[in-house]
C-alpha cells in the first residue's frame, strides 16, 4: 500500500515536471523514497539488473552494455540517465520507466560508489561491474580506500557476479574472499609488456600525482611487470604477494596504431576464444570499458542460457556509438568537427589530454573549468594531471573559458605553453571564444572541447540558445 502511494507520488511528480518542461531524472525517485524508504527494493524485485560502478568510465561502460544488449533485438534495455546515478535517480528509473514492449527487460544502472553501498542490497543485481578507482573530487567523496570499502560493503549485500578490473589494485582487491563469484577483465599482460618495451611513454618534468602506489595491507610499494596507464597494470606486492589476477577477458592490443583514432583494431580473448573488434569510442581507456562491457554482456547471455555468448557480445560491440559528452562528434561547416569530452577528475583529464595529443584530427583545443558543488569546489585537481609530457603534442593554439578560467589558463601556461598561444574569455563569452576556435581551426580539423561537469551543462545551454544547435548530445 505504502509502495503504491510512493509509486503514484513519483509518477505524479514526473508528470508535473514534464508539464512544466523540466527534466525529471531524480525528483520523482526522491519523492518515492520519502513515502517509502523501501521503494527501490520493491521496484527492483524480480528485475534483471546490471550495475556499473567505479570512479571513471561508468557512463561509457553502461552505455556500451545497453547498446550491445539492445542490438540483440529480443531484449528491451532501460537505464538511468547520465548523472542521475544516486539513489534518487535510480528509484526514478525503476519506478517511472516502464518497458514499452513485452520483451524481457534488462536494467543497466550506472551507480555512484557511495550510493552503491546503500542500495546494492535493495537492487540485488545479477551482475556488478567495477571499472576502476581513481581520485575523484576527494573533497566530496573522501579517500579512495574508503570508496573501495563502500563498494565492498554493497557487494556483500548481493550475490552478484562481479566483473572486476584486474589491472587496478584497488578494484582487484575486491575479488579477495569473493573468488567464487569474481571474474576479471583487463589488458593482456603479455600485450602490456610488449607495448611498454616497444613504445616507451614520454616523460614530463614531474610525474602525475598517482593513486594506490603502495599495498594498503603491507605498506610496501607495488612493483609492476608492465603498465597500461596511471596505476593500471600488471602489479604485484613484493611483501604479501597480492598481484594482478589472471583475466577471464583480456585485451590484446598493439600501439603501432593509436587507440585515439576511430576504428582502432584490437582483440578480446576469453580462454581459447579470440575475437577481433574495432574500437567504437576512441581512447586507450575505452579498451578497458569495451572489455568490461563485453564481459558483462557475455555473462548476461550465459545466465540467459544463450549459445556462443562471447562471440555474440563481441559482435554486438560494433553497434555502439558515443554517449552523452563522451567522444561525440558534431559536424560543422567546412568539414570541421566539434567534439566535447567531459572531464571531471584527474584521471579523466589525463586520458582526454592523452587522447587529444594523439588524435590525428585534433587541430584546436578548448578547456572550460567551473567549480560548482557538482564539480567539486576545489580546482586544485587540475595540477594533479601531467600536462607537461603531452603539451608538445597538443594543438598549437589553446582556448580557455569557464568560471575559473584564470586557474586553467595558468595551468596550461605552466605546462610550457607560451602565453601568445593562449586565449581566454569568461563563461559569458564562452560561445564567442568557441566560435573563434572553430574559425581558426584548419579545414577538416576537429575542435576538441574539454569542460568539467557544470561547464558542459552551461556550454550546452548556450549552444542551444546562441547557436540554435538542437539536442545533438541526446
Amino acid at each position: 500500500m505504502r509502495f503504491g502511494i510512493s509509486k503514484l507520488a513519483a509518477k505524479t511528480v514526473k508528470l508535473g515536471l514534464r508539464l512544466i518542461g523540466r527534466g525529471a531524472t531524480t525528483l520523482p525517485g526522491k519523492t518515492a523514497l520519502k513515502f517509502d524508504p523501501d521503494a527501490i527494493k520493491k521496484a527492483a524485485e524480480g528485475k534483471f539488473i546490471i550495475t556499473v560502478t567505479g570512479t571513471n568510465g561508468k557512463t561509457t561502460t553502461s552505455h556500451m552494455i545497453s547498446e550491445m544488449i539492445a542490438s540483440f533485438g529480443d531484449y528491451e534495455v532501460i537505464n538511468n540517465i547520465s548523472g542521475a546515478n544516486l539513489a534518487s535517480g535510480i528509484a526514478t528509473t525503476l519506478i517511472c520507466e516502464k518497458p514499452k514492449t513485452d520483451k524481457k527487460t534488462i536494467y543497466v544502472l550506472e551507480t555512484d560508489e557511495a550510493a552503491f553501498a546503500k542500495i546494492a542490497g535493495s537492487l540485488k543485481p545479477k551482475i556488478s561491474v567495477v571499472t576502476n578507482l581513481f581520485r575523484d573530487q576527494l573533497d566530496r567523496y573522501g579517500e579512495l580506500t574508503h570508496t573501495r570499502d563502500f563498494i565492498a560493503s554493497g557487494i556483500d549485500k548481493t550475490s552478484a557476479k562481479l566483473i572486476l578490473n584486474s589491472d587496478d589494485s584497488l578494484v582487484a582487491a575486491l575479488g579477495r574472499g569473493r573468488e567464487d563469484r569474481s571474474l576479471f577483465f583487463g589488458m593482456s599482460k603479455e600485450s602490456m609488456t610488449y607495448n611498454n618495451k616497444t613504445y616507451p611513454s614520454r616523460k614530463g618534468v614531474l610525474k602525475a600525482s598517482s593513486d594506490a602506489v603502495y599495498c594498503p595491507e603491507c605498506k610496501v610499494k607495488y612493483e609492476y611487470n608492465s603498465r597500461s596507464f596511471s596505476h593500471l597494470g600488471d602489479f604485484y606486492c613484493p611483501s604479501c604477494g597480492f598481484k594482478s589476477p589472471s583475466t577471464t577477458y583480456e585485451v590484446i592490443y598493439d600501439l603501432k596504431n593509436s587507440p585515439s583514432d576511430e576504428g582502432y583494431v584490437f582483440e578480446i580473448k576469453k580462454g581459447e576464444e579470440k575475437e577481433t573488434l574495432s574500437l567504437k569510442i576512441p581512447g586507450m581507456h575505452n579498451l578497458y570499458n569495451t572489455c568490461a562491457a563485453v564481459s558483462a554482456v557475455t555473462e548476461m547471455l550465459k545466465l540467459e542460457g544463450r549459445e556462443e555468448p562471447f562471440k555474440k557480445a563481441c559482435k554486438a560491440s560494433s553497434e555502439v556509438k558515443a554517449a552523452f559528452g563522451r567522444m561525440e562528434k558534431i559536424d560543422l561547416s567546412g568539414g570541421k568537427k566539434l567534439c566535447i569530452l567531459l572531464v571531471k577528475n584527474p584521471a579523466g583529464l589525463d586520458r582526454s589530454l592523452s587522447f587529444v595529443s594523439e588524435a590525428h584530427d585534433a587541430k584546436s583545443l578548448m578547456f572550460l573549468l567551473n567549480s560548482n558543488i557538482a564539480d567539486g569546489k576545489d580546482v586544485s585537481w587540475i595540477w594533479d594531471v601531467d600536462f607537461e609530457s603531452k603539451v608538445d603534442q597538443l594543438p598549437k593554439k589553446i582556448y580557455v573559458s569557464g568560471e575559473r578560467y584564470g586557474d586553467m589558463l595558468l595551468r596550461v601556461n605552466y605546462s610550457g605553453k607560451d602565453q601568445k598561444d593562449l586565449e581566454c574569455a569568461p563563461m559569458a563569452d564562452a560561445v564567442k571564444l568557441l566560435k573563434k576556435a572553430v574559425e581558426e581551426c584548419e579545414e577538416g580539423g576537429c575542435v576538441y572541447v574539454l569542460p568539467n561537469y557544470t561547464a558542459m551543462l552551461d556550454l550546452r545551454g548556450r549552444l542551444v540558445s546562441e547557436l540554435g544547435i538542437k539536442d545533438f548530445w541526446k
Binding site: V205, L206, S209, D384, E388, G406, L410
Partner: protein, 248 residues
C-alpha cells in the same frame, strides 16, 4: 649551464600528492627556469637517502590518511632528525596541510588518540569532526614591507596552534585558517613555511613563489643575491580572477 642552480627536494611525491600539491613544485620550477636558473627536482621517498647539502628547497605536501600512515615511520624516525637540523640551519621548506601537521609536536585525533609527530617546529594539532573546506584569501607581508593578497583552498579537520617560537605565516581574510579562532593561517619558523592552503598554493601566488626562491638562493649564493625580475602577468590574472570569484 647557468651559473645559478637550484635543487628542489620533493618529499614522498608518491604518497603526499593530494589536491594539486605537485603544482607547487611546478611553480617553483617554472619561475626559476624562466629566470634562466638550472633546476633539478629530486624525489625523496621511503628508503631514499636524504643529503641536506643537495637540497635548496624542500617540499612536503599532504596525503590521504592511509598514505600518511605508510610514510610515518620513515619520516619521523629515519629522516626526522635530519629534517630538524635542516630547518634549524635555515633551509627553505614549504609544507602543506598534512606535511605542516607532521612537522609539529603531535596530532591529537578527535577520539583522543595522540599521534607523535616530528617535533621540528613548535606547533600541535587537534583533530575535530567538522572539516574546513572552502576557498580562502589571506594576506602576507613580504620582506619589502609590501602586503599582498593570496588565494588558496583549505580542506582540513585539524586545528593547529602555534607555540611562542613560531610566527603565523599569513593573516586570514576569508576562510578558517589554522584553527578557525585566532585569524591566522600557517606558520613560519626560520625559513620553514607551512600552510593549510592547497589550490595549488604557489602557482597563483607568484609573490610567495618568488619569496621562497629568493630566500633559498640567498642561502646558497649569499645575501647579495637578487632574484632577477620576471613578469607575473599571467599569475596575477589567475590570482585576481580567483579573488573576484571568491568575492562573488
Amino acid at each position: 649551464m647557468s651559473e645559478i642552480n637550484l635543487t628542489i627536494g620533493h618529499f614522498y611525491p608518491d604518497l603526499l600528492n593530494l589536491y594539486g600539491d605537485r603544482g607547487n613544485v611546478l611553480a617553483l620550477y617554472t619561475r626559476a627556469v624562466r629566470r634562466g636558473i638550472d633546476v633539478t627536482i629530486k624525489e625523496i621517498s621511503i628508503g631514499d637517502e636524504l643529503n641536506p647539502s643537495e637540497i635548496d628547497i624542500a617540499f612536503l605536501g599532504g596525503g590521504q590518511d592511509n598514505e600518511q600512515n605508510i610514510l610515518k615511520d620513515d619520516l619521523v624516525h629515519v629522516k626526522g632528525p635530519i629534517i630538524k637540523n635542516m630547518i634549524e640551519d635555515g633551509k627553505v621548506f614549504l609544507c602543506i596541510c598534512g606535511g605542516y601537521q607532521m612537522l609539529g609536536k603531535y596530532y591529537l585525533e578527535h577520539d583522543g588518540n595522540k599521534l607523535e609527530c616530528l617535533g621540528a617546529i613548535d606547533i600541535y594539532t587537534e583533530g575535530k569532526k567538522e572539516r574546513f573546506i572552502q576557498d580562502t584569501i589571506y594576506e602576507i607581508e613580504l620582506p619589502s614591507g609590501k602586503t599582498v593578497k593570496v588565494a588558496g583552498f583549505e580542506n582540513h579537520s585539524g586545528r593547529t596552534h602555534l607555540g611562542p617560537s613560531v610566527k603565523p605565516f599569513m593573516k586570514v581574510i576569508k576562510g578558517a585558517g589554522n584553527n578557525g579562532e585566532d585569524g591566522f593561517e600557517g606558520a613560519r619558523y626560520k625559513n620553514c613555511f607551512c600552510t593549510y592552503s592547497h589550490g595549488s598554493f604557489l602557482p597563483k601566488n607568484a609573490a610567495v613563489t618568488d619569496l621562497l626562491l629568493e630566500t633559498a638562493l640567498k642561502n646558497k649564493y649569499g645575501e647579495d643575491y637578487v632574484l632577477p625580475e620576471l613578469s607575473s602577468e599571467i599569475e596575477d590574472l589567475a590570482l585576481n580572477k580567483a579573488l573576484e570569484y571568491l568575492n562573488g
